[in-house]
């Protein structure tokens, strides 16, 4: 579909946008702006001899026509992106209770620190003697994660949580191979994040899913049946995706270890555990944390993040490289030993993000870290209490940092699904919870308020959800047709998938 045809089909009552007087609702595409000859950024003049390109490059590889990039002035470029910015909800402008995503406030001081030339303008191949400040920071950050997680060694290299899972599972595979007992299965609960089975499959494991109990916990009985000497790893999320603490974790760890398997903690929900209990003390051999969740790195519309992995000593030889070592008062990057799984990426890691995590941990210290998790747990339980009786909570027990409510009743009574409630929340100025996950709860609304929201915000959010429950009863069409106050109404995802249009066509 071409863009112009869509503009034509806009309702007559809407303002008709042109690239230079766009309606409030529709920002033209970048390639519809500008005209030949406009530039935003101009280089200093070339000050070396202008040798002909034919002398420098093979004739059959020289580009004959410039890449058809948009030609816009600086003013138009900024206007374009600011208009786009204003179409977004964000953690900074809205309450963003997206379950399992920990959309906490991102401290501004972290941005200032990460922007220091001494961090931002350091080349990854700078000789170690020229990168002592960064290496010290990264070394100390590893030590901090070891302490927070109760682990013996940490790699900071994984670029995200799923990358951390991949790294850890590759290490588990190498560990079992080194014991001459290759194992082929990874077990996950049915409430697991999708990345768990996807990462296991990428490592060549067969994935076995086990049912949760009616109380939303991993079932010791089911596990007893599933755990064999062919199981390499049991991947667990604790608190799990229902926001519930896995009470049998210590017993489960014993069970898995008895059969020679490894325990992996998906640390996506680490925001509930800081200073309260530690992965290592619960019996986990490996854990990843999402620094873009728990450790306040802004999520950047999807990334970047960071997924450091902590392991117990028996897995240390398998860590990816390079590794930071401290020698006397100097730090060095060295290649890992022969058992290492190798590299999982180029260069050291997402250092720019790790610097922010370091600053966050330093700012909070021991007491501050615990206040984070206590605050997250208090906020979640308070919000749950406010919604009680309006939205059923399938497992209504004390939750940790998040909880899962269900829209099953509004669906059966009024045809209003979790998706409809999510869209209507946008009209009230709140981003939506995670919906339809975990898969074990019908019409799930997975709500994570985080510790950085005030009591008043939680109350107004609860009031909105309660008002929507009333609307579902009295004005169901209003809810089904939501959102009404966003730049666009509900978007046709089926059309998008059936006739993929994933780029503009230059000249079209």
């Amino acid at each position: 579909m071409s863009d112009t045809s869509i503009v034509r089909e806009r309702p007559e009552t809407s303002p008709q946008p042109t690239p230079h007087s766009p309606g409030r609702l529709l920002e033209p595409l970048l390639n519809q702006l500008g005209k030949p000859g406009r530039r935003a950024f101009v280089l200093p003049k070339l000050d070396v001899p202008a040798a002909p390109l034919e002398k420098l490059l093979p004739a059959d590889l020289i580009r004959r026509e410039p890449v058809p990039l948009p030609e816009v002035s600086e003013r138009d470029l900024v206007k374009h992106y600011m208009r786009l910015a204003h179409l977004n909800f964000s953690g900074e402008t809205n309450f963003y209770p997206l379950g399992s995503c920990t959309m906490k406030y991102n401290p501004k001081v972290n941005e200032e620190i990460a922007g220091l030339a001494g961090f931002a303008k350091v080349h990854p191949y700078t000789p170690d003697e020229g990168a002592q400040g960064i290496l010290k920071l990264l070394f100390e950050l590893e030590e901090q994660f070891k302490e927070i997680l109760g682990m013996d060694a940490v790699t900071l290299q994984p670029a995200a949580g799923a990358h951390g899972e991949l790294t850890a599972l590759l290490m588990a595979k190498a560990y079992h191979a080194a014991q001459h007992k290759p194992r082929h299965k990874v077990v996950v609960p049915d409430s697991a994040h999708g990345t768990n089975p996807a990462s296991a499959a990428l490592c060549g494991f067969d994935v076995v899913e086990v049912k949760s109990t009616t109380r939303g916990r991993a079932s010791v009985q089911e596990l007893k049946a599933a755990i064999s000497e062919d199981v390499a790893v049991f991947m667990m999320t604790n608190p799990n995706t229902l926001g519930l603490f896995e009470e049998d974790v210590v017993e489960i760890a014993k069970l898995v270890h008895q059969k020679g398997g490894l325990m992996y903690l998906d640390g996506a929900n680490m925001n509930a555990l800081l200073g309260i209990c530690r992965a290592g003390d619960m019996g986990f051999d490996m854990v990843h944390v999402n620094i873009h969740k728990t450790f306040s790195i802004p999520h950047g519309s999807g990334g970047p993040g960071g997924g450091p992995v902590g392991v117990k000593s028996h897995l240390k030889p398998f860590l990816p490289g390079p590794i930071i070592v401290q020698e006397k008062s100097a730090y060095r990057l060295v290649s890992p030993g022969p058992s290492s799984i190798g590299r999982v990426r180029s260069f050291f890691g997402n250092t720019g993000a790790l610097v922010r995590a370091y600053a966050y941990i330093k700012a909070l210290g021991k007491e501050g870290l615990r206040r984070v998790s206590e605050g997250a747990i208090l906020n979640a339980n308070y919000l749950k209490a406010l919604l009680k009786g309006v939205y059923p909570i399938p497992v209504d027990e004390t939750c940790m940092h998040e909880f899962v409510a269900s829209a099953a009743q509004t669906k059966s009574a009024y045809g209003i699904k979790a998706m409809d409630i999510a869209k209507r929340l946008l009209d009230y100025g709140f981003y939506a919870p995670t919906i339809c996950f975990p898969l074990i709860v019908e019409e799930a609304l997975m709500i994570e308020p985080s510790e950085t929201e005030s009591k008043e915000v939680l109350e107004s959010f609860a009031a909105a959800l309660i008002a929507i429950a009333e609307e579902a009863k009295n004005f169901p069409q209003k809810v089904k047709g939501a959102p009404h106050r966003m730049p666009v109404t509900r978007l046709d995802e089926v059309l998008a998938a059936r006739e993929p249009n994933v780029r503009w066509r230059t000249g079209a």
Binding site: L46, N94, G118, G300
Partner: protein
């Protein structure tokens, strides 16, 4: 510092509403069998203390501000417009999540659609995703697609592919039984005569990087023929800046284009976060890893954008997903789009041409120094290898004292290249800096 707004009074009121007497009572949901933590960590810092600490650490690093840099090897210093930093800093993008609710995320979604479009225009491909982690994992993801698509088990990879990307590929794929064969090289580029014997009917993909890790321009047209004659996919890794003067991989038959996109508006950042580029032919669109934004319509027929083809992804398909990736590098993709917009058609070409000409000027100066000779004869873009008569690491120590961040000692990648030295020159270097560097290098090898 304190980011939790819950006052003592709030806390009491909230606990009352919850129906418990204390925080400790609430925490009883953590069973007694789980040991309680007592972290050995110092107390938190105030903002001024934290900034002082960070500044002290930052001051101990050599930067492209403190030294004039000729270091590249996969990560490059370029001029970046202030506009890029400004847009990057905007909380509306920076503090949003992956756009799961499209109606409240049209800004991000349109920006990602535009990024995908710009990447397609650069590479000559039909489709692109909204970014992967960095160049190495992007290459691994491309190879996974090729292995699945062809149902073959062998990859033929040029030696000129960045060694750390090759190592990443090995970590991802060798453990599941993929055979990875190194394409032999001669004079810094792939030996297409020998390649003919290495590429066969078991080959899922031929993988090449242009310019390659040693700066050289590979004989891509010959390699493309060999790949396609054998039914293999042709995967091309690029430095996107070079596409301002080099033909797009699409024009010489690439099936998938990947690359490290750091050059497009991202700082050096000691190695990350960078930008994994991934673009491909239309026919692979339903097999692409990661997020893709598509244009669609809303209930009133208005244009809008959504995350699309999500049935490829881990949150829907779980163990059968095309990739396990969830979080990507969207902000870096945004920076790349703003960067390309800031340069425009002529400006982007200008950047590439300046890289090319300045690197050649530097080459002319450096190779005139007695004792230094070019390592290869192949044409290059903005980086070239020479051999030094003195240990390159020692040379770099001397250069650092003279205010330069020297080139890359190639022995860090390959011990056989003990005297090899890779020099990168971008548009950010002036003639005066290049000439001074040549003089300092001459001094440093004495």
């Amino acid at each position: 510092m304190e980011f939790v707004p819950i006052t003592t009074e709030d806390k009491q009121a909230m606990l009352r509403k919850i129906g418990v007497g204390s925080m400790e009572k609430l925490l009883e949901c953590v069973p007694k069998s789980v040991p309680r933590a007592d972290l050995k960590m110092p107390a938190g810092l105030s903002e001024p203390e934290l900034i002082r600490l960070a500044e002290e650490l930052a001051a101990r690093n050599v930067t492209t501000k403190s030294h004039v840099s000729f270091l590249g090897a996969g990560s490059y210093e370029h001029f970046i417009s202030s506009v890029v930093r400004y847009i990057f800093s905007r909380g509306e993008f920076l503090t949003a999540y992956t756009p799961y609710q499209p109606e409240a995320s049209q800004g991000t979604l349109q920006a990602m659609y535009e990024f995908q479009s710009l990447l397609c225009d650069l590479t000559g491909m039909d489709a692109a995703n909204a970014s992967l982690y960095e160049g190495g994992s992007a290459l691994a993801e491309a190879c996974i697609l090729a292995l699945r698509e062809t149902e073959r088990t062998k990859l033929v990879v040029a030696r000129g592919v960045h060694p750390e990307h090759r190592q990443t590929l090995k970590t991802y794929l060798q453990q599941i039984g993929t055979e990875i064969v190194e394409l032999e090289a001669r004079d810094g580029v792939s030996d297409s005569k020998k390649a003919a014997a290495q590429i066969d009917s078991k080959t899922a993909a031929v993988v090449v990087q242009i310019p390659n890790a040693f700066g050289c321009i590979e004989p891509v047209r010959e390699l493309e023929k060999l790949a396609h004659q054998n039914g293999a996919l042709f995967i091309v890794a690029v430095n996107p800046i070079s596409l301002g003067v080099l033909q797009s991989p699409g024009s010489y038959g690439a099936d998938i284009v990947v690359g490290e996109g750091q050059s497009l508006g991202t700082d050096l950042l000691y190695g990350g976060p960078y930008l994994g580029l991934f673009a491909c032919r239309e026919k692979f669109i339903r097999k692409i890893p990661g997020r893709i934004v598509g244009m669609t319509r809303d209930a009133h027929g208005r244009r809008g954008f959504v995350l699309t083809l999500q049935t490829r992804e881990q949150h829907i398909r779980r163990a059968k997903a095309t990739s396990n990736i969830c979080t990507n590098e969207a902000m870096m993709a945004l920076a790349a789009a703003v960067y390309l917009g800031s340069l425009g058609k002529e400006g982007f070409r200008d950047v590439a041409v300046q890289n090319l000409r300045k690197a050649h000027h530097c080459f002319d100066r450096v190779t005139k120094i007695p004792g230094i000779r070019p390592l290869f004869q192949a044409p290059f873009f903005n980086e070239f290898a020479v051999s030094l008569p003195v240990d390159p690491e020692e040379v770099n120590r001397r250069l650092m004292k003279a205010g330069f961040l020297g080139g890359f000692p190639l022995k860090r990648w390959d011990p056989q290249l003990a005297d090899g030295y890779l020099i990168a020159v971008t548009e950010a270097r002036s003639k005066e800096q290049i000439d001074r560097f040549a003089a300092a290098l001459q001094e440093a090898i004495k």
